[in-house]
Structures are given as structure tokens and as C-alpha cells.
Amino acid sequence: MAWYSKAITEKKQQIKSLWVRCKKCQSHIWQEEWHNNLNVCPHCNYHGSITAYERINLIFDEGTFNELFASISPVDSLGFNDLKGSYKDKIEANKKKSGISEAVITGEGKINGIRAVAAVMDFRFLGGSLGSGTGEKILQAANFAFEQEIPYIVFSASGGARMQEGVLSLMQMAKTCAGVARLNKKDIPFISVLTNPTTGGVTASYAMMGDLNISEPGAVIGFAGRRVIEQTIGEKLPDDFQTAEYLLEHGFIDSIVTRKDMKKYLSQVLSYYNR
């Protein structure tokens, strides 16, 4: 009985792991189909999360992406401890879980033959939060684009600033934007791709500063959290509040592009850079 029960549990888990449940329409999708469809729901077009390396593979021409600044990783400079333990331990756990050492991967490569520098955020690492190492990599990549005079693309996926680094985290907003300001001055294109979710300090810094702000469908993009706003104004917010579609309507997004069209779209708009 014990053995039998265990086998059933295992079988159940095995089956479960073969299916993915869409967070939007709740459909069950075969994992293979989900994956082949780039983690996008074939029924409702919900764009699920993907890892930074998966995104790099989707965007850059095969074998052209050279990772840069990979050795940068967070340190617990404030000795931050909360209810669930130390930031130091969290860093190690997140490194282990995700196999990467910061919430962003940076590098350069070619998109349909066009050279570009990219910073690709990964939500698995501390919720894509903007820490000192994250900011450093995003700035270093901007500086690389500045020196090489080639376009810079940041793919955001972030819950905002990294609380565990206090104001050091807040200052990453200024640090990354200082990099964007230099690109602006040199007329080097900066393209921001906002994916689900992009919120808080990331939205209020580089993610909103693209010459073009592009978004995946349905992505949540906002500054203040939905709950905070509802508490402040004392009413329920509309369902589409802070979605990419809502931001397009309100003038902050140039275009909403599906994941499968993103590579073509980026190379198309970059082809218009004429310097």
C-alpha cells in the first residue's frame, strides 16, 4: 500500500511535469508544445516567462552572441537580514537555482546580421531585481555600445529595485540612466524591450528611456504596485491597468510585438539607423 501510493504520487508528478498550465486562460498545454511555442500559450497568446539565455537564442544569430561582464555578481554589502534569513544566503540560493550570477546577462552579437549590444534580464534571479551588480552590468554594456558605437537593447523583466541593497540599489537607477544619457548624446540608438513584468525602479529608469519602447503582449508595466494604488485611491483598478496595451494607448509604448516576431522586428527597426 505504501509502495503503491508512492508510485501513484510519482506518476502524478511525472504527468504534471509534462503539462504546463497557462497563467492567463488556465489551459493545460503539453510542455513540449509550450516550449516549441516559445513559452507562449497557443490558446490565449499569454507570454510566459523565459530565461535570459533562451531569449538570447531567440534574438541573436546562432553562434554570434559573446557574453560580456559575466563575472559580476551581487555582494551583501549592508549585511541585510530579514525574516527569511540573510541576503547573502539568498544570493547563493538564487545562483544555484538559476545557474546565473546576476539578474541580467550582457553581451554583444548579431541580429539578422546587424551588430548590437544587449542586456537581458532574467526574472528567476531575485525577481529580476535591480541590484548593484545588475546596474553595473547594464552600465558596462551601455559603455561598450558607446565605445563601439553600435545600438544597445535592454530586455527588462523585473520587480524593481533590490531592497536588500537599500539606497545602493536605488542609485542603480541613476547609474544606468547615466549610461543611457551618454548614448543619447552620441545619437546611438537605445531600444527598450519591456517584458512581463517590468515594474518599480526599473520602469522608472532605463526601461522607459528607449528611443523605442517595445513590449511583449500583455506584459505588466508600471511604477507603483497595483495594491498600493488601490489602497491610495480607495477603488478597484481596471483589469487592463498597467498592461502593455494600456501603456500603448497612453502614449508610452511604440509597439507591441509578439515573441516570435521580435527578432525580425528588432532587425527591421535597427536597419533604419543611418549613421
Binding site: 561582464f69 563575472s71 559580476i72 555578481s73 551581487p74 555582494v75 554589502s77 549592508l78 541585510f80 537580514n81 530579514d82 525574516l83 527569511k84 548593484s132 551588480g133 546596474g135 553595473e136 552600465l139 529595485a161 533590490r162 531592497m163 541593497e165 537599500g166 539606497v167 545602493l168 540599489s169 536605488l170 542609485m171 542603480q172 537607477m173 541613476a174 547609474k175 540612466c177 547615466a178 543611457v180 544619457a181 551618454r182 543619447n184 518599480g200 525602479g201 520602469t203 522608472a204 529608469s205 526601461a207 522607459m208 528611456m209 508595466i221 508600471g222 511604477f223 507603483a224 504596485g225 495594491r227 498600493v228 494604488i229 491610495t232 485611491i233 483598478l237 491597468f241 497612453h250 508610452f252
Partner: protein, 292 residues
């Protein structure tokens, strides 16, 4: 929730805010400093405007949508030096708090600030920003009109502004709402001011699952002037008199004036290309990380 909590403190004019005994000569806890920074009698921007500056000419409007009273700005003179002054204004009583939305600016506030900074650049005037806000206003309309975009743009443009910029935190430096006018060549704090990525209440609610752990969060966040100087986020601390700035308006005004004049003179002597390079290096160096 972060903002809501800090508002409660700010609006309760009648509450005592008594600190546990005299603070003189004693090391204050981070939470005690948070409370002083929000003290209802603490001098606000409009106090310094009168005690430290002369000849103030207020300039209104963002030229897009409105005139946000949570941020006030205009021409002013300090120790004979002409500047553009821009700051959060919380107001001094309940009526003013409401009129000025407790110093919580909307996009039109940040856009007014940026317009005045660009005007300062044209007129070749240094910019002084005075920071005192629980944060940017978290409202539906503010989001709709681009709260994030307006702050992002200010931060980006301030990094490249071709005149000296001094940012002084006089009370609460609340997250992006503070940084939206805070990218200075010098960042100065009053000794009981705070500057934080999130309010202690907000942080406690998220990481401790209960706002009542705000004192722990305050400690952990390293939000005091002293800690921030240690972490090289800020450049200077102005020592407050007695039990805090609210106990001696004249003395704090003198100290603020002395510091601003000294820093304005130092920065104005630097050629603009070097100034901009230094500013870029300053913000490039912010934060600590491993590797590289």
C-alpha cells in the same frame, strides 16, 4: 502601503512624536531618526526658501498638463549667488499638506522640475534641489500620465545637465520620487534626514510580512545620513541642532546656507566638461558588487 503609513505620521499634527527621552549625546536608532525626519514641526522646503534664500521668483507649470504644487521651483539667490531652486514642498499644516499632496509629486511635477532645470541650463544657473517626499504619488492618473517615464527622464537628463547640481535631503528621501530630482554633483543630507529605496513600513510589509517591523526594516535598510555617507552614496552631512532641525530653525538655516554656498562656489569653479565627467564617474561608482 508604504506611503499610507508615512502619511499617517505626517498628518497627525497633534500626535506627540515624543522620542524616548532626550536624544542629546545618545546614538539614535534608525527608527528614531525616521520619526524625526517626519516630525510635524520639522522645517520644510518653504521654510528654507524664506530663511536661506532671497528674491524668490516662483515659476509654474510643466507646459504639458498642469502645475503640480507638490514640487515648487523658481529663481532665487543665496549668499549673493543666483540659482534655480526646485524642491518638494509638503506644506506646514493639514490644509497645505492636502494642497501639496504631502510632497508626493505627479508626472507634471517632475516635468515642471525638468523644464526649470533646462531653463537653468539656458540661463547658466546652478541648480539646487531640495528633497522631502514620502515618494512619488501612487495614483491611477499619475500612472496613466507616465509617473515612471517622468522620473526616468529626469534622472537621465540630470545626468547630462550642463550646470552644477546640488541635491539636499532635508526630511524624507523617498525612493524614485526623491531621485527624480536628486541626481546631483553633490548629495547632502541633514543629519536626521533619511533616504531610502522603500519606506521602512513598505519594506517590513514585504519582507517581514507586517508593517510593525518597520523599525527592523529601517535598521536593515541603512537609510540614515551616517550610514549613507559610510556607503559613499552621499557626500556631506549637515549636523542638526539640539534634538533635531525642528528645535532651532535659525541654526539649521545657517548651517544649510553655509553648506550650500560653500558647495556652490566649489562646483561653479569646475569647467562644465569636467563637471559632467565627474558626475558620470560619481554615479558609475555607485554600489558594491563582486567580480570584474
Amino acid at each position: 502601503m508604504a506611503v499610507a503609513s508615512s502619511l499617517k505620521v505626517l498628518t497627525s499634527d497633534k500626535s506627540k512624536h515624543k522620542l524616548n527621552g532626550s536624544t542629546k549625546g545618545k546614538q539614535l536608532s534608525a527608527w528614531e531618526i525616521v520619526k524625526i525626519s517626519r516630525h510635524p514641526q520639522r522645517p520644510v522646503f518653504q521654510d528654507y526658501l524664506h530663511s536661506v534664500f532671497t528674491d524668490f521668483v516662483e515659476l509654474h507649470g510643466d507646459r504639458y498638463y498642469g502645475d503640480d504644487k507638490a514640487i515648487v521651483g523658481g529663481f532665487a539667490t543665496i549668499g549673493g549667488i543666483k540659482v534655480m531652486i526646485i524642491g518638494h514642498n509638503k506644506g506646514k499644516n493639514t490644509e497645505q499638506h492636502v494642497e501639496r499632496n504631502f510632497g508626493m509629486a505627479k508626472p507634471e511635477g517632475y516635468r515642471k522640475a525638468l523644464r526649470l532645470m533646462k531653463l537653468a541650463q539656458r540661463f547658466n544657473l546652478p541648480v539646487v534641489t531640495i528633497i522631502d517626499t514620502p515618494g512619488a504619488f501612487p495614483g491611477l492618473e499619475a500612472e496613466e500620465r507616465g509617473q515612471a517615464e517622468s522620473i526616468a527622464k529626469n534622472i537621465t537628463e540630470m545626468a547630462a545637465l550642463e550646470v552644477p547640481v546640488i541635491s539636499l535631503v532635508i526630511g524624507e528621501g523617498g525612493s524614485g520620487g526623491a531621485l527624480g530630482i536628486g541626481v546631483g554633483d553633490k548629495i547632502i543630507m541633514l543629519s536626521n534626514a533619511i533616504y531610502s529605496v522603500i519606506s521602512p513600513e513598505g519594506c517590513a510589509s514585504i519582507l517581514w510580512r507586517d508593517a510593525k517591523f518597520a523599525p527592523d526594516a529601517a535598521q536593515a535598510l541603512n537609510l540614515t545620513a551616517e550610514r549613507l555617507l559610510h556607503h559613499e552614496v552621499i557626500d556631506e552631512i549637515i549636523k542638526e541642532p539640539g534634538e533635531g532641525a525642528h528645535t532651532d530653525y535659525e541654526k539649521i538655516a545657517d548651517a544649510v546656507k553655509k553648506s550650500l554656498v560653500k558647495n556652490l562656489k566649489t562646483l561653479s569653479a569646475i569647467p562644465v566638461d569636467i563637471l559632467l565627467d565627474k558626475r558620470f564617474q560619481k554615479y558609475s561608482a555607485m554600489g558594491k558588487f563582486a567580480g570584474f
